[in-house]
Symmetry: C2
Subunit: 217 residues, 2 copies
DNA sequence: CTAATGTTCAACGAGTTGATTGAATATCAT
DNA sequence: ATGATATTCAATCAACTCGTTGAACATTAG
């Protein structure tokens, strides 16, 4: 009947959605949204068995969400497009709007936290230079791209490096993006030590698009 | 470790993605994006077996993407949020960007068609009143919401109602949204009969958001 | 009440998914 | 070549998905 089959479109789209339809794959995409990575470091970061990571990555490739490059004996995976992160984030936002369970998680999470800093607000804070931005992601992700002037203190080093943080000024903490709970842990720790902390709930890539100055490798 | 488990978030998000991960469900969402529908009419519109439709709808409900209401002896399904359509469309756009197969389909489809009319352009056309807008969706969808002043000629009636269309002025044809191939079929038919036709590749809901005047039931 | 209608439910089978294991492959260092 | 390293591949199993069928359920009409 039709020149092009409507179903064929939907089959393709469904294949992309299939890439997003497993918690582990979403975790991988979140990490790859920060920097490219080889299989080994993805294994370390997720704590999943190596073969499992490899298989999920191949599923993501089938879905068109990631691409691979060989580099010596390792394979470096990266997102096919920054829009992959954008879609994942949109998926998360929709889930929180439409699924009670997700709404409950988000409520529990943001329960005591005040509203996140917007990109515009961040620009103002950066300009006035009264705030210290703290990037709690792993070293490699910071190296790949970070908010200009941000201090990198990976979460697992945070407790031991509290001395490096200024007492007088407010801190703004960020990590991988809107649904990264690492921020929450950092905030809890810092508040417990008496720091004034706000959060930034967007990814570095996203902030860059919003006009925030970003330093790249 | 964490106050809130990162994985719990991703499991929720994955459940939403799961709703999008089958061609038939995407077809159902596209239809529900136009108007609410009972199971019977969804069965008729998709051509799928009744029980199959019912099961997919329940999967969509589990994913938080649709809601049901009883109305007499029928159950009327509707999208949980207009953002469901927005996410489906974003999924399609990403697929076309990232999956070769989807890119090929889109290329084949738009091969001979000129660029679609933008919302702004449509506003201008409406204002100058030189164009006839043709809505080729089923009657019920037109009744639920349509571009102000549009003429409803469902695709299957188009051939028999060509006489109602003006010969002198250009036509702008639209249907369910960016990935609805019904438009293509209508365009092919109309071009074959010598009409000057352009297309509109956004859904009515989407056009409404963009400021195009829309008539609702 | 009984029948008709619209929808869901339950159960089946073929196919797919995801985790796990161990073997196979490819690249690099020696 | 040889061995070490990084990753994929192949095979297995339990769990799930999808379509199909027919029965079950709820609501309305008569």
């Amino acid at each position: 009947m039709s020149t092009v089959d409507q179903q064929a479109f939907f089959r393709c789209f469904a294949r992309v959605a299939d890439g997003l339809s497993h918690a582990h794959r979403l975790a991988l995409l979140q990490i790859l949204g920060q920097a490219e990575r080889d299989v080994e470091s993805l294994t370390a970061l997720t704590g999943l068995p190596l073969a499992s990571v490899s298989q999920h990555l191949q599923r993501l490739k089938r879905a068109g969400l990631v691409e691979v490059r060989r580099e010596g004996r390792r394979r470096v995976y990266r997102l096919s497009s920054p829009r992959v992160s954008a879609l994942s984030d949109a998926l998360g936002r929709l889930a929180i709007e439409c699924l009670d369970e997700a709404a409950a998680l988000e409520a529990a999470r943001r329960g005591d936290a005040e509203r996140a800093v917007s990109a515009d607000e961040l620009l103002r804070l950066l300009h006035r230079n009264e705030t210290v931005i703290v990037d709690v992601r792993p070293r490699e992700e910071y190296a790949f791209a970070h908010v200009e002037g941000a201090l990198n203190v990976p979460l697992d080093e945070l407790e031991g490096r509290l001395g490096e943080l200024p007492r007088g000024r407010d801190l703004v903490v960020y990590c991988r993006g809107p649904f990264c709970v690492t921020t929450d842990e950092a905030v809890a720790l810092l508040r417990g030590r008496g720091f004034g902390v706000r959060t930034l709930d967007r990814s570095v890539a996203d902030l860059a698009l919003a006009g925030v100055p970003v330093t790249r490798a």
